[in-house]
Subunit: 320 residues, 2 copies
Amino acid sequence: MEALGEFDLIGKYFTRPVRHAALGIGDDCALLQPAPGMQLAISSDMLVEGRHFLSTVSPQRLGHKALAVNLSDLSACGARPVAFSLALAMPRAEESFLEGFAQGLFALADEHGCELVGGDTTQGPLNICITVFGELPPGQALLRSGARAGDDLYVSGQVGDARLALECFRGSVALSGEAFEQVRVAMELPQPRVALGQALRSVASSAIDVSDGLLGDLAHILKRSGVGAAVEVDAVPRSAVLASQPTALQRECTLAGGDDYELLFTAPPALADAVQAAARLSGVTATRIGRINDSRLLTLVDAQGRAVPHTFGSFDHFKS
Amino acid sequence: MEALGEFDLIGKYFTRPVRHAALGIGDDCALLQPAPGMQLAISSDMLVEGRHFLSTVSPQRLGHKALAVNLSDLSACGARPVAFSLALAMPRAEESFLEGFAQGLFALADEHGCELVGGDTTQGPLNICITVFGELPPGQALLRSGARAGDDLYVSGQVGDARLALECFRGSVALSGEAFEQVRVAMELPQPRVALGQALRSVASSAIDVSDGLLGDLAHILKRSGVGAAVEVDAVPRSAVLASQPTALQRECTLAGGDDYELLFTAPPALADAVQAAARLSGVTATRIGRINDSRLLTLVDAQGRAVPHTFGSFDHFKS
């Protein structure tokens, strides 16, 4: 009896004819036929209320974000999105939630030609787990391990607004209505850099998406690549709203904010023009924010070249 | 800061060198190179405490079961397991839990040559979401839609013990210690019929795994295939422990029990010997329990050929 609702809901909101997959929702497995010779990139992200989203987010935006964070992982590898599966636990099957969630989810999925091929729904504390599949030619994946001393360090778009929005929700920062809406959109509707990731395939030497904070994620690149970096903290791109905040808060948000879903990547100086061409082609900016070195240390300097002390929690990743 | 534990735990319990995948845990995506020409079968299952397992289950057995229910979906399609990703939400990172969970998980994974290639861990109410990948030649997947009037209906192994164990935990049935341990093993350590599923590829006309109860899952085959079935309720194989219970309880457990993870499948009578050969080869029994017909109805008869009334909840699936 209890499973009846499950099947009804799947049918009503999540069953759409598949266009590319050999078999979609409704059997024990989905069937995918990878393009000949292509590698499959796979990533899973699990979203939990209070940790990855707030109860105040609209169902549409939550549907968007749940897929966006997964597409962001594909982007960081340079893969082209193909399909995804969705597992969803909900306390109750609320139609208003499901309708909005499906709208936000499918709008982003359609934008990137990424189709839902399978999944699971169950009763339980709200939990959204998406596994996404992308394709890319063998050997062309952007990895965390490819940064070399002398490479430039770049970040796409702007970072820090999602963290500023979180501080507003926490009550530690007050913004005007319009400014708050702007940073709230950054937090709730992140735009995965799908086109940029693919355009960087033969350009970037390493890449990661910024989900845990720029410095924490940079530390993953440094550790995997066995290199160090000097980051010009005042060069990190930020919105006008964030730029009007106190310096300490700006640095906290841009360097240790998290939830940005921009691409952080490295490329040899000789490919600086190619980086900008890839960015233009993708409709997003790419800003040089530092340089990779062979120190195995992560150092920060301000616009005047003065050392900035490491006071951000996400540095701890790098110690291990 | 909060993500530090995440990376430590991944490293300690879930990072193993991949043998087949092009890239495993530690980058933004895992990379898989499908064998040339093969289709990829994909299935996701999300397990929630109180619904898919009880708080009394050991971490080892929970690790086993979380993967087993996913391998069971691959089996029902006839796919060969290749890889899986694991997303795990836990209230706290308890080493004793993680160590046992990883042991049970990897023991079953190794048995079936299915390697962990990626995943996610986060703080939250206990939730386990596994997505599993299998390979099979195009066009050879066992589907729910292939049953034809005249086909025999089979089930592998025995069904009903998992439900009997649940009734013991609920306090509605009392068993001796030894009998209870036996049915508890059926509930907590289901054995996915991986070999049988592959052996049935060119033999079975349709298949599904029994997760929601035999009749409820049969209803999916009937609906998808546009056929009916007559099930001989006394022919459904059950353990000696279950066979010693009252008839009504036996029928409830075997027909509407759920959590069995046996294969329910159909095959033309001309292939009856091939069915038994596939079962022998796989080290599991296959019992004929009825026949498919063109009535579009699901009817039950007892050993004396008398109609048995439909009183099982899982029939509701078939109404829709």
